[in-house]
Symmetry: C2
Subunit: 393 residues, 2 copies
């Protein structure tokens, strides 16, 4: 194994490293974007943004349609000048693509707005969040809500122990619980059958939020068929399915997301807000998503990306001296040897190799030094593998 | 004056008219967009959308910059693929253009999100809203908030009587009051000096919301200098200035707005929400708005539009048999003779002449039959004038 003592930074590199540390601090529990980084650190060249969790092939597909349907048809002005449709109109557009009653659909300005809307409106006294996880779930809780953490155990590879979890919830009696499936930053996946067990056992919990923002990267059969619990909203009226479109469709910039929930809850949210929370591009995207041809092409891009991602995870697992956690998402969680800080490796990868990864030092609930590395296109993934091998083998 | 009895609708026209009535009902207290109308009423041709309140010259200017900076530079994918910056980063971008401390700026996904955020978070028991007005202010009030209306009087041309208003507020003791300046749908303008009088007298009111979404169309001097009360947030920490960018910049589709308020309130809002509520196009717009050259060109487009709008209002005033209210906004409120319903004229204008105007029958606080007609480009305005003359002279 390389001795990291040899990898001393030059004064110039040390300066960049310190700037990165400052920027990370300022970005709170999220990472500074590559735009912020390159803008504030002149001379920094980012070749691979492996901090960014999205399917680049889906972005390509979307851009292709956007060019054909909007740019080439001179329709861009229409999307930017006029008011987009109201929430329920866009819900109706989406309903055929996901085969859900439009009255059960709540459209959001990104999944993040939906998380906020649900937690602000429906979480009342106590919320249980599993850690490690996406921090907004506990950060968005209002002051009157107690947040209790359910710690996923390192010895279980941060997998959820269903029985233990059910017992914990029965004991704690929260009104709101959150399950991200697959989880971020671990990539752990809870089987549909296990989630149904949880729903059955925890019917007393008022709000069960299942965040399926990474679900298009997971699969339970050899055909990579899409999995979702959306339909179960008919059976469990305490269930909320939250879905970002940013990751699987690669369109974080347009802010599109939706949630499936009991019709009464959609009405409660729309009763005094969220009237015009979609922009023109998001509305166009939801129209696109209702086209059969687009969906067929998307499924192709999705399955190609899943295959490459699974290969990437296997390749990363072969790098010596690091521990790689199994993942059903589009990223992989890596544990570094005890004596090597995640900040050091993040800096080396960025400054020396132009690879931007997520330093997980701020993620509560992770024990050890961790990086989260996204799967990108084939060539970028190969670059990451080669650099990791050079560093750790 | 034309006898409207002669204007009998053909069965085909009657069918369209009935569809319009249904669509209007479904859209609640807002109007169906021209997209919804043309999609659901085949054969309907809209030539002038005078329901839509925006400066078309500003849209042209924006599209010109968008083409040069984004499309031609191949930067569109960057805006759509990656996460936009967080709220405080965009506030910082905007701060130089409006000369306000970034800590006092809250960025919104359109002004509508800001109205919702302020009212949901800060209005506690009682809110006073002047009517007629933009309905979202009272519709967004949560169940525990009493909404009291202050009726603007027809005999005052719906102008606010400052003394009477101050006395009413002192008597009612609401925690939240709302003033839209210029008001929608009347176009009435409250002088800056009068608003300062209100602020001085009503320091006991916890939240004074002044919505300046149409303020770029108003002026108090011959140079059409921009007016705003933004700076007064330093003096009055109960003041909120709400600002849509949709109307003056003609970019309703990208959803961009901001509010100026006491730093502590911005922090309260950002503490558990609104992290990534801007999309990539909105962020680019705020970057554009910080460019001196763009602002200079915008001021030219703004002043040209003000001049044409003022001329339009004078021309409409010369049409016989209708009453035209003075307006400092980019639209004009018209009162029809008692025996003629606003629905009838709206239908005639749309079906026979392709002109879409706002039927104000659902606006509470207006006594009589009213239409609101937006000022558009010069030619469109002339078309409107000619048709109105044909109908009413």
């Amino acid at each position: 194994m390389t001795s990291f003592d040899k990898l001393k930074f030059t004064p110039k590199e040390e300066e960049i490293r310190n700037k990165m540390i400052t920027l990370k601090k300022e970005a709170g529990t999220h990472s500074p974007s590559i735009h912020t980084l390159t803008q504030l650190i002149p001379g920094l060249k980012i070749k691979v943004d492996a901090c960014f969790l999205s399917n680049p092939y889906a972005t390509e597909l979307y851009m292709d349609y956007f060019k054909r349907e909007i740019i080439d048809q001179n329709k861009l002005r229409d999307l930017l000048e006029f008011y987009p449709s109201q929430n329920d109109v866009i819900a109706f557009l989406l309903s055929s693509s996901i085969n859900i009653d439009p009255k059960q659909i709540f459209i959001g300005n990104g999944a993040i707005e939906i998380i906020q809307a649900i937690i602000h409106r429906f979480a009342k006294k106590k919320m249980v969040v599993n850690i490690p996880t996406f921090s907004s779930y506990y950060e968005f809780a209002q002051d009157m809500v107690d947040v209790e953490f359910f710690k996923l155990r390192k010895e279980d590879n941060y997998n959820l122990d269903i029985i233990e979890y059910i017992n914990f919830i029965k004991e704690q009696k929260p009104d709101t619980i959150v399950l991200i499936n697959p989880n971020n930053p671990t990539g752990n996946y809870i089987l549909k059958a296990d989630l149904i067990k949880i729903l059955k056992e925890l019917s007393f919990v008022e709000n069960i939020i299942i965040d399926e923002s990474f679900i298009h990267f997971a699969f339970e059969d050899e055909f990579y068929s899409e999995v979702t619990l959306s339909k179960l909203v008919n059976e469990y009226n305490n269930l909320y399915i939250v879905k970002s479109m940013s990751k699987d469709f690669g369109i974080a910039g347009i802010r599109a997301g939706y949630a499936i929930m009991d019709e009464k809850k959609v009405n409660q949210l729309l009763k005094n807000g969220y009237l015009w929370n979609s922009n023109g591009l998001a509305e166009h995207f939801f129209r696109l998503y209702s086209q059969k041809e687009f969906i067929a092409n998307y499924q192709f891009a999705r399955k190609r990306y899943i295959e490459e991602t699974q290969k990437f995870i296997i390749d990363v697992s072969k790098v010596a001296n690091i521990k790689v956690y199994p993942s059903s998402a589009n990223f992989v969680l890596i544990e570094l040897p005890e004596e090597i800080s995640s900040e050091l490796i993040t800096s080396i990868l960025l400054i020396r190799h132009g690879i931007y990864v997520r330093n997980c030092a701020d993620k509560i609930g992770l024990e050890g030094n961790y990086l989260r590395i996204a799967s990108r296109g084939q060539d970028d993934n190969q670059t990451i593998i080669d650099v990791l091998k050079g560093l750790f083998n």
